[in-house]
């Protein structure tokens, strides 16, 4: 049983336009086995939260904390966070020239598990995981994300989720760019991991599309760098029916 706790998180980003505060006091606690959804309009800072949890160097935490079972996450490097059990399925995973998917996955699994899996077991495991996500076996020999379609990139992210079995996973706009069939395959992949482990999941989305496939028992509305409403699935239904209008300009929930 683990807890990922985000407390009064303030984050700023530096760009050519100057320093800008994007997260303005986020409070969120996720326990193992729970699935939370953060919904918010475009530009509300949802993805910033996702990348801040993963430790992207572009974002600076100026106030507040992120802890995993009481251990400070903010001071960890990106790879330390991953090895501690945090996972981010990215909206736009980058191409890595020269590195095959199979080499990448094996290196990653070795780093996360702390030892290299036996080659024979590994090949079997990889094959099964790829088959479960309807991924062409040839995929393993391609370079990471190079020339992948949007759907292939998302499947590759979920393939990693399945193999790495993190304690907490943040899925950043995983539904974007997926057609109905691809969305089902990807969602089934996530649901299999949810059933097989006590993973805590944070879904980040601006539509309810993904939530119909991956039910979240906790829904949070994110506006202007803060959570402005907390609830259950009924909150997602309300957003689907009426949009975000009612939440704009609302104060933070805590």
């Amino acid at each position: 049983m683990s807890t990922l706790d985000i407390h009064d998180l303030h984050v700023q980003v530096e760009s050519d336009a100057g320093v800008r505060e994007i997260l303005r006091g986020v409070n969120l606690t996720i326990e193992s086995g729970q699935t939370h959804a953060i919904m918010g309009p475009n530009g509300s800072g949802k993805s910033t939260l996702a990348y801040t949890i993963a430790g992207h160097p572009k974002y600076t935490v100026t106030e507040g904390s992120i802890t995993l079972d009481g251990v400070d996450v903010v001071s960890m490097t990106v790879d330390e966070r991953a090895r501690a059990g945090l996972f981010l399925a990215m909206q736009y995973p980058v191409e890595v020239p020269g590195v095959s998917v199979s080499n990448f996955l094996r290196t990653s699994v070795t780093a996360i598990r702390g030892e290299a899996p036996k080659l024979r077991d590994w090949l079997k495991e990889l094959k099964a995981a790829m088959a479960a996500l309807s991924v062409d076996p040839k995929f393993a020999e391609r370079n990471v994300n190079e020339g992948f379609s949007g759907g292939e990139r998302k499947r590759h992210e979920i393939l990693q989720l399945d193999l790495l079995r993190p304690r907490f996973a943040v899925l950043d706009e995983t539904d974007s760019g997926l057609d109905v069939d691809a969305l089902k395959v990807v969602a089934e992949g996530v649901n299999r991991v949810r059933e097989a482990t006590d993973i805590g999941v944070l879904l980040i989305t601006h539509t309810t599309r993904l939530l119909r496939e991956i039910p979240a028992e906790f829904v949070h509305v994110f506006v202007d760098g803060r959570i402005v409403a907390d609830g259950g699935p009924e909150l997602a239904d309300e957003i689907e029916a009426s949009g975000y209008e009612r939440f704009l300009g609302a104060p933070a929930t805590s």
């Binding site: 993963a54 430790g55 992207h56 160097p57 001071s75 960890m76 490097t77 990106v78 790879d79 966070r81 991953a82 090895r83 996972f87 981010l88 990215m90 995973p93 980058v94 191409e95 890595v96 020239p97 020269g98 590195v99 095959s100 080499n103 990448f104 290196t107 990653s108 780093a111 996360i112 370079n143 990471v144 990693q160 790495l164």
Partner: protein
């Protein structure tokens, strides 16, 4: 488009010529203009059981075949003695013959003219190892006799202050097979011009190259394969990684298929990987076809970047920054290294590249 193969020797380059426009002439210590005061290279040959080595008067050798640039022509003309390495007819050996050129400092200009002859039907491997500090102009002429199978590996492990202008011209006889590997891993300015011509049908040339340019280094390879005979093959594959401010590589791949070269098969590829900001790779493939009757002809050139977003992605999957860079660079060179027949050379190249990754000016991860 001009037929590059016919470009004449036109005197000392000024930097305005197409062939010299990338080269930092000011850093050549005059090597491109004059060889006054130059000395002959101390070419140490570790004789293998199969090769014979002797110095002969350059005057007694036939005139240079194929295109030759001014500095190489100067080096040839000024070398009164030429080293001639002969792999006799009928020899069949994969045991490499080692040719070592060791620089003794950059102050004196060194010239070499080396002839490598693989006689009819022979099979052999020659490994040329270049180390130390040097200002060198080297002309190497390679004759691959009818039915011979010759591999020439040239490794530039120069110290960081070395300047090296090199020409490696191969003439392939009937059904001859030539394998070339040029690995440029050190030096201040290294400019090597590997060229191939065919004197009879059926020749097969494979030209491989690996290079790694670090901050301030200029590494240039200009290849020319001149298909003037029917039913010959050529395959060119060069891969380079660059890191650090001012690291610069140039790859020019010229392939000419003349009207009489029917049934030619050729493919050339150059891939470059920029590991840091501030590095630059120029890559120019040229394919000139004068006959409608080729078997296959193609070229490709790509330059990719390993950037902070890639580092973030790999780190986000638990991989530490050092491992991430090694993964990317090893992966990048893997298919090319797999084509190197000599295991010791392949291991040396990988080791050398990994050492260079170790002294990289990278940031300490991302925190």
């Amino acid at each position: 488009m001009t037929v590059i193969a016919d470009a004449p020797v036109a005197g000392a380059p000024t930097g305005r010529e197409e062939a010299w426009r990338f080269t930092p002439l000011a850093r050549l210590r005059g090597l491109h203009e004059s060889v006054e005061g130059a000395v002959g290279a101390q070419v140490a040959v570790v004789t293998s059981p199969v090769a014979a080595f002797a110095y002969v008067a350059t005057d007694s050798l036939p005139a240079a075949s194929g295109p030759i640039e001014w500095p190489a022509a100067l080096a040839r003309a000024a070398s009164t003695q030429s080293g001639v390495l002969t792999i006799p007819a009928g020899t069949d050996s994969a045991v490499p013959t080692a040719v070592t050129i060791t620089g003794g400092g950059v102050d004196s200009t060194v010239l070499t003219h080396l002839v490598i002859r693989a006689e009819r039907g022979s099979r052999g491997v020659v490994v040329i190892k270049n180390t130390g500090s040097i200002t060198l102009s080297a002309n190497i002429e390679i004759e691959v006799g009818d039915g011979a199978d010759l591999t020439v590996i040239s490794i530039q492990d120069w110290a960081g202050d070395s300047v090296h202008l090199g020409r490696q011209h191969a003439v392939l006889g009937r059904d001859a097979r030539f394998r070339s590997l040029v690995a440029t891993l050190g030096g201040d300015v290294v400019r090597i011009v590997p060229t191939v011509e065919y004197s009879a049908p059926g020749g097969d040339a494979e030209l491989l190259g690996v290079f790694f340019a670090e901050a301030g280094q200029h590494i240039e390879h200009r290849l020319l394969v001149d298909h003037s005979q029917p039913h010959c093959r050529s395959s060119v594959a060069y891969k380079g990684a660059l890191q650090g401010d001012g690291a610069h590589s140039v790859w020019i791949g010229d392939v000419v298929i003349r009207a009489e070269a029917v049934g030619t098969q050729t493919y050339e590829i150059n891939r470059n990987l920029l590991l840091t900001e501030g590095a630059r790779a120029d890559s120019v493939p040229n394919l000139e076809i004068e006959t409608g009757n080729v078997e296959s002809a193609g070229h490709a050139s790509t330059t990719g970047r390993f950037d902070d977003e890639q580092l973030f992605y790999l780190q986000a999957r638990g991989i530490d920054p050092d491992t991430a860079r090694r993964l990317v660079v090893r992966g990048f060179f893997a298919d090319l290294v797999a084509r190197i027949a000599d295991d010791e050379v392949a291991a040396h190249i990988i080791r050398s590249i990994e050492e260079k990754l170790g002294d990289a000016p990278f940031d300490e991860g991302t925190g």
